[in-house]
């Protein structure tokens, strides 16, 4: 029944009220004012959201499409012209060892930053969720690194991770540990860059998770406390499961951010091209170098599209995982949408079969009429 209201207005004659068969209405002239108000009802929501979509069309969709066009060309930025060369740019990018190294680095830095960051964020949020003094002070303090400009963070950390005279290595040397070659060892450079990312984003994620924690009904904890559950048990049995939907949001945003990581690796050394042996070359850094270093925008556009497809693929994986996890959390029905639709279809089939066999010929009108109304678009498909 609910689908009737949201179904596309396929026919103009259809009355706007879903209830009741149309034949029972007496046709009457609709005044212009009425018509206006109906348009108002139908169109104004679209009008209200249109600024975003128009802007998105101009600054989002158009560049994406334009990038796709350029990616099939040998493009000259200055003269604004190019020659069509098909998939050559894609082939070139995919056959470059640098591309695969960049892909490896991107995922490595992404994992090294996201996982510790989330664990740390949950932990800090749980601490801040306790009854502590000067709550606002601590909460704002956690967010402080997020306020810093990424480039400033990168500058400070790059200095600390200097190979010879950096703070980290001199400290290690004082402790009698051999210094780490932050700029020549690939894994060490990933850790250094992930540290910058974690420094900046942990606080942000902490606050989001803290907000979610505060939405958990306190009764759960009281009940658990009465049952004799320890703080840790309460955390694992109540807090963490309740955080799931928020965690998924945090994971998705940090995935998108992680795959597009740019500022930190770019500022990690003085050249900003990802290291002599591409140790910390990420996809976006590679893209930037091809585009703005070599002025090869056709190739850069091809790489941009490859990155887009990668993010899309990972986004879909994320979505599938999300659906599985969220279903029994906040969904309106215990059944999935697909199952709901299947059940409705089965019910209608039964009904039709019954109607054609004549057993239900004298069935009461109101029950079958709305069903068939929703049925027609289904059957036409």
């Amino acid at each position: 029944m609910t689908t009737t209201a949201t179904a596309p207005p396929s026919s103009a004659e259809r009355p706007d009220a879903p209830a009741g068969p149309p034949s029972q209405r007496t046709p009457k002239r609709i005044a212009f004012g009425h018509r206006l108000s109906r348009w108002d009802l139908k169109l104004s929501p679209y009008l209200y959201i249109s600024p975003f979509f128009i802007l998105f069309l101009v600054v989002g969709l158009f560049p994406i499409a334009y990038t796709a066009v350029i990616s099939f060309m040998d493009w000259d930025l200055v003269r604004n012209s190019g020659t069509f060369i098909g998939f050559d740019q894609y082939v070139y990018v995919l056959t470059q060892p640098k591309f695969w190294i960049a892909l490896r680095n991107t995922f490595s830095i992404f994992l090294l930053s996201s996982i510790p960051q989330l664990i740390l964020a949950i932990f800090i949020a749980a601490m801040l969720d306790q009854n502590i003094r000067a709550k606002t002070f601590w909460r704002m303090g956690v967010l402080l690194p997020y306020v810093m400009a990424p480039v400033a963070v990168a500058l400070i950390f790059s200095n600390m991770f200097g190979d010879k005279y950096g703070l980290v290595n001199t400290t290690l040397a004082d402790l009698g540990i051999s210094p780490v070659m932050w700029h020549s060892d690939a894994f060490a450079s990933h850790i250094a860059i992930a540290t910058m990312v974690n420094f900046r984003w942990t606080g942000y994620n902490t606050l989001i998770l803290l907000a979610a924690m505060q939405a958990i009904p306190r009764d759960y904890y009281e009940a658990a406390a009465i049952d004799g559950a320890s703080k840790f048990r309460q955390f694992t049995a109540i807090t963490v499961p309740s955080l799931r939907p928020t965690l998924i949001f945090v994971i998705i945003t940090s995935t998108i951010g992680g795959l597009q990581i740019f500022d930190e690796p770019r500022m990690y050394d003085q050249y900003g091209t990802g290291g002599a042996d591409s140790q910390w070359l990420t996809i976006t850094l590679y893209l930037y170098d091809i585009g703005w270093g070599q002025w090869n925008f056709g190739r850069a556009a091809a790489l941009a599209w490859i990155l887009f497809l990668i993010i899309l693929a990972i986004g879909i994986i994320n979505l599938l995982v999300t659906r599985r996890v969220v279903r029994d959390e906040g969904a309106r029905s215990s059944l999935g949408r697909r199952e709901q639709r299947a059940a409705a279809r089965a019910a209608r089939r039964d009904l039709r079969r019954a109607a054609s066999s004549g057993t239900l010929a004298d069935a009461p009108e109101p029950e079958s009429a709305p069903e068939s109304a929703t049925d027609t678009p289904e059957a036409q498909r």
Binding site: L47, N80, K164, Y165, G166, S184, Y271, Q279, G293
Partner: protein, 423 residues
């Protein structure tokens, strides 16, 4: 309902207006020329060209109908990105500064730039003019500064190693080719156990800038880098020396800046503009000095030009300004302001230049020293379309060996495969 409709209309107007505002923000500023003969000229530079407000005011006093506004980009890279995004379209300044590093790229679009009026070309050094002249013989850049190279050294570290310390004796000591430079270096490292020069990359840059056609064939523009024996020889020579003599501190890295003051290396190849980098980042260090010598003759590193985009609003006025700014008298003032060493012939006999002394470098007569170094430059290396990429890959190859990530041969092989992928 009526109220709702009105608010809707307001919302629609507001939405449209916000889009209009954004669109207006993107469009370039309105034309600056006007009917009453007054002209506003913009000059876009980067780093520090030495064009102070006082210097620009002089021009405005001489030409009351002109106002000059300078836009400074922070780095040459920022300027480069801006330049190519707007070249041939709208939005560039009336006079745009470019650096020799990306001059080869600019030369591909020389038709989009106004030609320097004939008759002024003999103002500059020949090789400075040649580099900015395209295949059709059009000169498109007004030369500003050049980077003739000497050798900067730490006299205190030289003394500790038992080497001569005054700049005449050091010049005599290092007189010769690169083998001589590395030979003294071997001697220095053997005595002190510390590094002779900062990095293989910086030293390589000094060496490769003496090769006339290093990476590309000047006639055909084809890549010849990987088959060029000269390049391979330099690669081997510098890396053989660097194993013991280099501090392995890549130029412009944080460690390299730290090394300027903590004595990590005793010498460094030094274009004129490097003096400001050293004195600015190693304050309080008294040992730095500069010797009037460069291995294997002269060498040039860096330098800039002014260009006038052909589709600007005030091309003629812009040309006059560029001409004035790059006249010897003004360039000498710029040199005094920012250390940008003149590329103009007449400047070299000017007392204001030759008598210039740098206090930080133990009162070295840097004006005279770099005038001599500029005259010693005999080779103008050819830099074509791919110069930047090939050289960048080479710098990385050298760094890989210095880092210990790869050995000499493996790194060379990787460089060869990278160069093969270019183009």
């Amino acid at each position: 309902m009526k109220l709702s409709r009105r608010t809707r209309a307001i919302a629609a107007v507001a939405g449209a207006a916000s889009i209009a505002i954004i669109a207006a923000g993107c469009s370039p500023a309105a034309d600056s020329g006007s009917e009453d003969g007054t002209v506003e000229l913009t000059v876009a530079t980067f780093n520090d060209f030495g064009y102070t407000d006082e210097l620009l005011q002089e021009y405005m006093d001489e030409n009351p109908n002109v106002t000059v506004v300078q836009n400074k980009a922070a780095t040459s890279n920022d300027a480069r990105a801006n330049y190519f995004q707007k070249l041939g379209k709208k939005g560039l300044a009336d006079v745009e500064a470019i650096e020799v590093d990306w001059l080869p790229e600019v030369m591909q679009y020389s038709d989009l730039l106004a030609e320097v009026p004939s008759g002024t070309a003999d103002r500059w050094l020949d090789w400075k003019v040649d580099a900015a002249t395209d295949a059709d013989g059009r000169l498109i850049g007004y030369g500003t500064d050049i980077g003739p190279e000497g050798v900067c050294y730490r006299s205190d570290l030289f003394a500790a190693a038992g080497l001569p310390t005054d700049r005449e004796s050091v010049a005599a000591l290092l007189e010769g080719d690169w083998a001589k430079y590395f030979e003294v270096g071997a001697q220095y490292t053997a005595t002190t156990g510390t590094a002779w020069f900062d990095s293989a990359g910086g030293t390589y840059q000094g060496m490769i800038n003496q090769v006339e056609a290093a990476y590309e064939d000047p006639d055909s523009g084809d890549l010849i880098a990987t088959d060029n024996a000269e390049v391979e020889d330099i690669y081997n020579q510098v890396l053989d020396a660097s194993a013991a003599q280099s501090a392995h501190l890549g130029q412009w890295s944080d460690d390299w800046f730290a090394g300027l003051s903590n004595g990590a290396y005793a010498t460094m190849l030094c274009p004129g503009w490097m003096l400001g980098v050293i004195s600015g980042n190693a304050e309080g260090v008294t040992g730095w000095d500069v010797a009037n010598v460069f291995p294997n003759g002269g060498g040039n590193w860096g330098g800039s030009y002014l260009t006038v985009p052909a589709n600007g609003a005030n091309v003629e006025e812009a040309q006059k300004l560029a001409d004035w700014l790059t006249a010897p008298e003004q360039q000498i003032k710029a040199f005094v302001n920012a250390g940008t060493f003149p590329s103009q012939n007449d400047a070299y006999s000017d007392e204001a230049l030759t008598g210039f002394v740098n206090e930080y470098f133990n009162n070295a007569p840097v004006g005279q020293i770099f005038t001599d170094r500029a005259k010693a430059v005999s080779v103008a290396p050819f830099k074509g379309e791919f110069y930047f990429q090939v050289n960048d890959a080479m710098q990385k190859a050298l760094t890989r060996v210095e880092d210990g990530t790869q050995d000499k041969q493996a790194s060379w092989d990787q460089w060869v495969s990278e160069v093969d992928a270019i183009g």
